[in-house]
């Protein structure tokens, strides 16, 4: 993860407010049917016990079951995928097979839960991540060249999208 920021589950508020509200009950992690959410187990007293997602381990498939389960509103009770607001994916064209010209790979586009909005195919061939990306990390997890990295919303530069509510 970049700059120590953690990728939070769908509906997470801004990091500071999220940390103030997260009770560390783990319900979001327990109710995730894909095992995408796990609890931070470090020694940082501010973050240990809080939920996070590591796309390289298991991405979030945007089933949207966790936000309504949060008892404190640390996760806003959103149910629409497009409002998950977790972060944003960034594509390194230098590593992407399609941009490199070696093979025509559409894996990220085919797996994106918000394909054709969050991830579009320019000229029908070249994957482009748009501001509609919510940072679920699916594209990062499936990219065979590891050309994609998902940045948490807290790590994004201003105006970079990321499904900011």
């Amino acid at each position: 993860m970049s700059d120590g920021h953690l990728l939070r589950p769908p509906g997470a508020r801004d990091e500071a407010e999220f940390l103030r509200r997260c009770l560390q009950c783990g319900r979001c992690a327990q109710l995730c049917p894909f095992g995408s959410i796990f609890l931070e187990a470090g020694f940082d007293p501010r973050t240990c016990g809080t939920p996070r997602i590591d796309p390289r381990r298991t991405p979030c498939w945007l089933c949207m079951r966790c936000p309504p389960a949060c008892p404190t509103g640390a996760l806003r009770p959103v149910t629409e995928m497009a409002k998950a607001g977790m972060g944003r994916a960034w594509l390194d064209k230098a590593r992407c097979s399609t941009y490199e010209g070696s093979i025509l790979c559409k894996t990220c586009h085919e797996k994106c839960p918000l394909r054709n909005t969050a991830l579009i195919m320019d000229l029908g061939m070249f994957p482009v991540v748009t501001d509609a990306c919510v940072g679920c990390g699916v594209c990062e997890s499936v990219c065979p060249r590891q050309a994609i990295v998902t940045l948490p919303r807290a790590a994004l530069p201003p105006g970079a999208g990321g499904g900011t509510p």
Binding site: C22, G26, L31, L39
Partner: protein
């Protein structure tokens, strides 16, 4: 038919709760979701239950009421208003381990009556209040949750499912070892901030379950009080008002049943002016 000792019933409930809470993450992973969460916030068939101090920290820090958590805390407080801090005696896994550790300390001869002061709620209340104030004033995460022993037990299983060990959990056996050496349940008596709200509710409510002591019935010689020896918290139940730290566990009642039956549960407080020697219970023996 003879009634089973309350202690046996209580122990069965304690172990049952500990097993259920250990099974929750496994059940959730298997798709069984009628119960989820941990001792900080629990959801059972849609009914929220929660730690009042945890909910208070979130409310103070976020400057707003988080309703599901607040409702869960309210239900826990309501239970404490009627039954007292029975969570500590009947549900808290750390309480169970602490009692077992105390039993070991007894066998090792480390328990010395009177080694520690009788009162402990005031110190716990100061600790909880200070923690709540710090969290609220500086807008911090609910840091006092880190010293919640029941939450630590829940987290053990939540992390284990993810294949991780949260090293601060090792503090729990360390504290238990200290309690064995000290011969007293130090954490529950003098530290645990999570139980303060429940104990205060029990202390301040004019109704609710509590102990009643009828001095005339006591048959124990002064130097061999069964009730004092039975109380793992080292409290003296022979008072007009039950000790503030009493959790209504009933161990003293079980001990007293073997003698004069001078102790019993009652609903409500003794009427003003009633002496400790002739108190009667409007509810009868429970």
């Amino acid at each position: 038919m003879t009634r089973p000792p309350l202690r046996a019933v209580r122990r069965a409930v304690q172990i049952g709760v500990a097993l259920v809470m250990a099974a929750v993450p496994l059940a959730n992973a298997a798709g069984v979701n009628w119960i989820s969460g941990n001792f900080l916030a629990l959801d059972i068939l849609g009914l929220p239950l929660g730690d009042p101090l945890a909910a208070a920290q979130v409310a103070a820090s976020a400057r707003g009421i988080a309703w599901p958590a607040a409702l869960g805390a309210g239900l826990a407080m309501g239970l404490a208003l009627v039954l007292g801090p029975v969570f500590c005696a009947y549900a808290c896994p750390y309480g169970l381990f602490s009692e077992w550790a105390h039993g070991l300390a007894r066998r090792l001869g480390r328990v010395r009556p009177g080694r520690f002061p009788q009162n402990g709620l005031a110190g716990r209340a100061v600790l909880a209040g200070a923690g709540l104030a710090v969290v609220g004033l500086w807008g911090l995460p609910p840091l006092v949750n880190l010293v919640s022993m029941p939450a630590a037990y829940s987290r053990l299983w939540q992390y284990a499912l993810a294949g991780a060990l949260w090293l601060p959990l090792l503090a729990v056996p360390a504290v238990l070892c200290v309690e064995v050496l000290a011969g007293a349940r130090l954490w529950c008596r003098f530290v645990c901030p999570q139980s303060v709200a429940l104990a205060l509710a029990h202390r301040l409510a004019p109704w609710g379950l509590g102990l009643a002591y009828a001095g005339k019935r006591c048959t124990c010689p002064p130097g061999a009080r069964r009730c004092l020896a039975a109380c793992s918290l080292g409290l003296d139940p022979r008072r007009k008002a039950p000790p503030a730290a009493c959790t209504n566990c009933g161990d003293c009642l079980d001990a007293c049943r073997q003698a004069g039956r001078a102790l019993r549960f009652r609903l409500g407080r003794p009427a003003t002016g009633l002496s400790a020697t002739d108190s009667t219970s409007p509810a009868g023996r429970l």
